[in-house]
Structure formats: C-alpha cells, structure tokens
Assembly symmetry: C2
Homo-oligomer: 148 residues x 2
Amino acid sequence: MVNVSMPIGVLARSVGCKVQTIRYYEDIGLLPAAGRTAGGQRRYGETHRQKLVFIRHARELGFPLPAVRELLTLADQRESECAQADRVARRHLDSVNRRIAMLESLRAELELMLTHGHGNRIRDCRVIATLADHRLCTQVHHAEASGS
Amino acid sequence: MVNVSMPIGVLARSVGCKVQTIRYYEDIGLLPAAGRTAGGQRRYGETHRQKLVFIRHARELGFPLPAVRELLTLADQRESECAQADRVARRHLDSVNRRIAMLESLRAELELMLTHGHGNRIRDCRVIATLADHRLCTQVHHAEASGS
DNA sequence: CTAAAAGCTCCAGTCACTGGAGCTTCAAGC
DNA sequence: GCTTGAAGCTCCAGTGACTGGAGCTTTTAG
C-alpha cells in the first residue's frame, strides 16, 4: 500500500502519469484540490489516488475529458441510475467504431498504393500518383482523421 | 475548369477546405506563397490548386504534416527514387495498423462493459466498476490513443 | 546544518487548424 | 463613376490534453 499522505511525485509514479498531468487535472477541476503542507506542497491520500486511477483508466480507453468528468460525477452518485453511464460508454463505443471503420479504409488504400506495381522513379510512383489524384482512390475517406 | 487566377475563397471551395487553412499552409511553408493583386489579395493558379489537392488528400489519409511535406518534396523531384515515398507510406501504414489494433481492443473492452449484466444503480454498474479497477480489464490497452 | 531532490508557480509550446476583431479591396449593378 | 456588400487582409487567441522549462522554495536524509 502506498502511504496515506503522498507527495505528488509518489502519486504520479504510483498511477503511471506525469506530475504536471496531476496538477493539470487539479487546475481544470477534474481532481479535487489536494491538501497542502505548511510549506505549500500538495499531499494526497488514497481517495485521490483512486480518483486518479479512474481518470487515467478512462483516458487510456480514449474517453475525452468531458466524458471523464461526467463519468466521475456519476461514480460519485452511487444511488443514481446506471443508464446514464451506459449512454456515455455507448456514445464512446460508437465513436471508436467509426474510427476503426475509417482507419480500415485508410489501410486498404495504403496497401493498394504499396502493393501496386510501380517503376522505381517518382514519375511512375503509385503512392505519389494516388495522392495527387483523388480519382485513383477506391475507398471513401472523408473528414475526421483525429479526435477521441 | 476553375479560373487560372482564383481568389482564395474560390480555391478553398474547389478543394473543400477553409480559407484559413490555405493561409496556414502558406504560413508554415507547405504551399508556396501566392501572387498578389495590386491591393494585396492572393491569386492562385492551377499549379497551386494541384499542390493543395495533394496536401488535402494526404491529410485525409491521415499523414501528419511533416510526412506531407516530405511527400511533396518527393513529388517535385520526379527523377528521384520511389523507394523513399514507399517508406513514408509504409511507416504510415504501420501506424495505422497499430491504431486499429488498439482501437479494437478498446472496442472489446467497451463492449464488455456494456453487455455484462449490471444492476440499475451506479454502485452495481459495470462501466463505473471497470474504470475504477484496472483488474477488471480483459484487454491490454496502453498509451498512445492519438497521434498518427 | 547542508545539499540535493523534489516541490512550487507561471508561461510557452505541441498539432493542425479554427474563429474573431477590425480593417481594406474587389466587383457587380446602377 | 459610385456605391455597396461580399470577400479579402493581418494579427491574435483558442482548441485538447497535456508537456517542458525557468526560476524559485520546501523537504528530507545524512
């Protein structure tokens, strides 16, 4: 077990994130402000650590911070309905599915670019030609290449 | 055919991007600076348009700007070797594959969260429980949820 | 008591744009 | 030729989710 009154660096190591990240979470009000020593340094207990684990886990699963905030609030209301947490997760699942579909069409396109016979000079290069001319695409690929 | 001397808005519409994006590409030196009217407005020709199409297409395929820059340089050197463009594309394919693999494990985790039986109160909620306790995960999911 | 490690705050930078304020130029209609 | 409204211009700030650094103070082990 980790000490009941950890400095920030120990907490950071114990959950596998950066010290700055923890301070950032406090800044934006995701993690409640820690108590301070007489000299002004933050000290954390087990409750903070559990909350941080929750946040990091949700982030690893790709939930954007607003969703994490929502889930955290829900987690604190142990008597409220589960349906809302399900909705958040389902919404995220939808976005994950959309991203997978898009990446798969990109993969197909890239594989086509790479496996197609081509000369060894740029002027005959399939990769370059495909990029220069959209009509050579077999796949539909539009919009949102990023985001969580 | 689009006019041989387009203002920036016409060019933007013709390739499907924002006016500011074109100015941004000029700022960072990705697109060569356009000629100007006496009054200081940019005017574009077909060469610019082709370059912009190339850039947008590469971006839609998820290539990060440094890679696009590299590909553009290659495209301009029509006699150089194709192998280098292939390497850029292959590197990108690898990263796409990694992202797909990761997203698929996230999907599995999210589906598990959602399909598992659970009570209708937060205290019995599988979604919340999974986030709070990493040990409930069946999937390995680490690090880089973003980036190309 | 000293010295190094770790903490603190504040600011800037990342990536690839996007939006807005406040101003100027262009082009069509009269 | 003049008006007027759309579209252009520059510059600055903001996005998301951190990350890194400067310059300082506090803690803690020896």
